[in-house]
Symmetry: D2
Amino acid sequence: MPIDPALLAETDRLRAAPRPTLRAVSEGMEAHLYRPIPVLDHGFVRVVDYMGDDAAIVQAARVSYGAGTRTARDDAGLIRYLMRHWHSTPFEMCEIKLHVKLPVFVARQWIRHRTASVNEMSARYSILDREFYVPAPEHLAAQSAVNAQGRGAALAGDEAARVLDWLKADAARAFDHYEAMLATEGQQGLARELARTVLPMSTYTQWYWKTDLHNLFHFLRLRADAHAQYEIRVYAEAIAAVVADWVPAAWGAFRDYRLGGVSLSAQGVAVLKRRLAGEVVTQEESGMSKGEWREFCEVWG
Amino acid sequence: MPIDPALLAETDRLRAAPRPTLRAVSEGMEAHLYRPIPVLDHGFVRVVDYMGDDAAIVQAARVSYGAGTRTARDDAGLIRYLMRHWHSTPFEMCEIKLHVKLPVFVARQWIRHRTASVNEMSARYSILDREFYVPAPEHLAAQSAVNAQGRGAALAGDEAARVLDWLKADAARAFDHYEAMLATEGQQGLARELARTVLPMSTYTQWYWKTDLHNLFHFLRLRADAHAQYEIRVYAEAIAAVVADWVPAAWGAFRDYRLGGVSLSAQGVAVLKRRLAGEVVTQEESGMSKGEWREFCEVWG
Amino acid sequence: MPIDPALLAETDRLRAAPRPTLRAVSEGMEAHLYRPIPVLDHGFVRVVDYMGDDAAIVQAARVSYGAGTRTARDDAGLIRYLMRHWHSTPFEMCEIKLHVKLPVFVARQWIRHRTASVNEMSARYSILDREFYVPAPEHLAAQSAVNAQGRGAALAGDEAARVLDWLKADAARAFDHYEAMLATEGQQGLARELARTVLPMSTYTQWYWKTDLHNLFHFLRLRADAHAQYEIRVYAEAIAAVVADWVPAAWGAFRDYRLGGVSLSAQGVAVLKRRLAGEVVTQEESGMSKGEWREFCEVWG
Amino acid sequence: MPIDPALLAETDRLRAAPRPTLRAVSEGMEAHLYRPIPVLDHGFVRVVDYMGDDAAIVQAARVSYGAGTRTARDDAGLIRYLMRHWHSTPFEMCEIKLHVKLPVFVARQWIRHRTASVNEMSARYSILDREFYVPAPEHLAAQSAVNAQGRGAALAGDEAARVLDWLKADAARAFDHYEAMLATEGQQGLARELARTVLPMSTYTQWYWKTDLHNLFHFLRLRADAHAQYEIRVYAEAIAAVVADWVPAAWGAFRDYRLGGVSLSAQGVAVLKRRLAGEVVTQEESGMSKGEWREFCEVWG
């Protein structure tokens, strides 16, 4: 689905006029500013503002360590140290503001992350556009048989066709009725705040969402994860690619310590140490429950 | 709509077994514990836990004022002083936990209040009940002609009948398809996290919501207000009645200083002082915009 | 006390190299960037970064109101409307980061504002400079006779001399001992984290402090107020002057609605209405306590 | 140092009158209520209120998972699952309120944890008691030679005697002058808010501090850690012992997954897998910096 030409024109206009600033500038982020990154069938993410860069993290950390420390340890090394030891406040010194278009059911997961500022378009005040999410055929997944909140393979054949038809037809009908209820020709017209209740959760909404880098990392850790629902994960992945360009050192530390890292319980540490010493350890001897053992073996064999 | 008998039985069970505690106890709140208060056509609010009472507010404030102050000023007077001077932390010392059943579009307004803890039932994990909100005829309001996010009079006649029919029929059909898509007889069955996207915003959900008294007052101030949407206001009013029983002194101060109070701008103060001195002041002389003047005159004539 | 020449040189260096950006730029704020504003005898405030401007507030608010609203109401009018109606999230879209040098007893008041990011220099890690606050003679105030947490007139004569002498001599001696305990020549040297405990609350510390405009306004409302301790109020006033240059429309609304505004209780509204109708109302008839009445009369006579 | 007899009498009074409640009751916590636990030379921690228990965590999690899940998995198992997968909101459903007496330099570390409610006694309003922290001889530690923010062995001999003498004498003199400056006989008396600036960081203060279990765990993870300063760690350890009695299942999960657990980076996971496969890996081949490698080897040899 192409991005709205009016938004692209607005993007061009906003990108045409650089202005001088004395603030920290991230070249990687300047390249992204205002440009909508398409997500799902009608959605997008675009950066509308940012504050700080890798150096801002180091600067804040070094105040907290006082004078005389700007010696050996290079910036990336310090950033890795901060990430490793859960020193979160220096990462809060960077800020990002996004404009996001997303389905309501995705917005409902997203907003669970409370440490952020949000301004969402109001369906009490405005009339919503006729746009709703319909999964692409390859994402029309069956319920997972093993994971109550997971997906299996894509539906196929008649079942896929039937499901797609319902998803589209019900949403289209709801939008028809939404418009018909709002209309004021020959009738009063229902209040917007009530008419919207007929619309499906697949309806698109928009918001400005602003958060700091520490909280953004927390969001990405949970939502760029393989267990996150596909429809929010693609937003998280789009944002992650932007962050890698914005603060490359912080991103590298986050990738190595959080995304690619593993948390071990005391029992897990003990089992690994015994294995390293050549012992064979069974679940019964591990001190772990069956579920813990299964998750442990998924990583360590 | 009657409350689910299973919930009422659970309520009776939970209320049958008082236990001794050394903590502060609010008799007014004990009377409410676990009892569902019906709201809208299928919703409810019930208190599932609380912490503190009026005395806890005073106790916290007096620590912050140190020893030697427990003299003249009585507790209610101190609470009024705290409210008047925006001393918010003592009110944070009281906590409430609610179990709420509410339509999704109400939940989306409610969750904008970020300083709270929430656990919502997950439609990725569970299958939702066939329950959706349909306004009672007297609440099927027309769009306000003067306020973009307001309501006018109730719809009538054919228009009302048509709207009610659409609201009910579209939701019923969406639930039919939801169930048909989830079914696994003779087909794979769509993932729950996708099937739910067909459901309307009027669908009911449930959550546990916990916040402190300061943040609850902020919620009530905005949501028990005449400008709030009716469907969230009735929840706020139900909670307000509970709070009045829980912490009567704090409630009285909140009612007098926030709900019933008025904030004046510097210009508003100046105009009132001139009026008190017998002057007649026009909008042009007031330093207020037309909008500010109109709102000012709604209160002061 | 002159600002450290090294800091001034660093300021000049940072201000010498503007770079192009596509972000919103506030000319008023660019003029302040990095420049230390002297506060008290050794302290300062300097802006080290910012995000957003008046237009960013409007932009966020208009998303929340949807398309089609950028018509009549001008930006300043919309910002005043938002302030008047306690719509706080659009103001959260602007962010400021300050570098502050301040006495510890001021830092302890300041940090009570929790919705901010802070990196403070660590006296566990670093050795503190020999700098402590001593009030100027005109600020060496007596305890207020009427307000337990207020000040009276400045001390004079022998008493002033004696107090100044103690404040200086005790701090100087504590710093002497601090350095002597840390020294490692001919002895082990006490741990920094213990040695610092001998230093007085007047000792200066430094931090990076970052917050959004909504929370900054809350800070300014409480700390630029006449009831705030003088030593934190001067920091708040220095910041307020910066904010007026950064977001002039938002500042104007804040000044008119919060700093210069008045909150009336329900009883206060009722009394004013009766007075406007020509009635004379006594405290006994007002429904207010003596304290409420006194505060009411301070404003309204 | 014995606890103030007046506080013990107050504790007895508060513990003498159990009242019936319908709320969740934790027997383990009831045994602790109001009882001051001595910490350092003059400090204490006492629980003054709490909300919830292990079952409250499970209850909240099960709402978020919807109906039909209260089957096999027992409560402790579910709590371990939540902890393992960083599901933090159910732990927010439990709340604790503490009354703490602590030195100012400890309070300054403590308050960095922002997600809590605090009411501290005010030295603007009240006159502080003559109480300050002096380390016991075995805790009068030298500066660490290897860790800028760590401690070495205890000081000995003349150096220890000299340091103790300074710590005591300077604080005593500051308190003498504090009282002399406040005195109003024959002089005006300095404002309390200024007089306090002469007092050392070792001065004791008091506060009410309230937080939820999720945030308390975060506090304990950082402050009960071996790298935390001894003087705050003893408070964290006292609180940890209380939590173990309050919510034993949650405590067990926290102990196994956080306190006793280990976080591995992607590089650490790779090295361990190669070691488990029998390879010898050097720092150069590990992809880790020297610092990372040293920390890795401290755990894994």
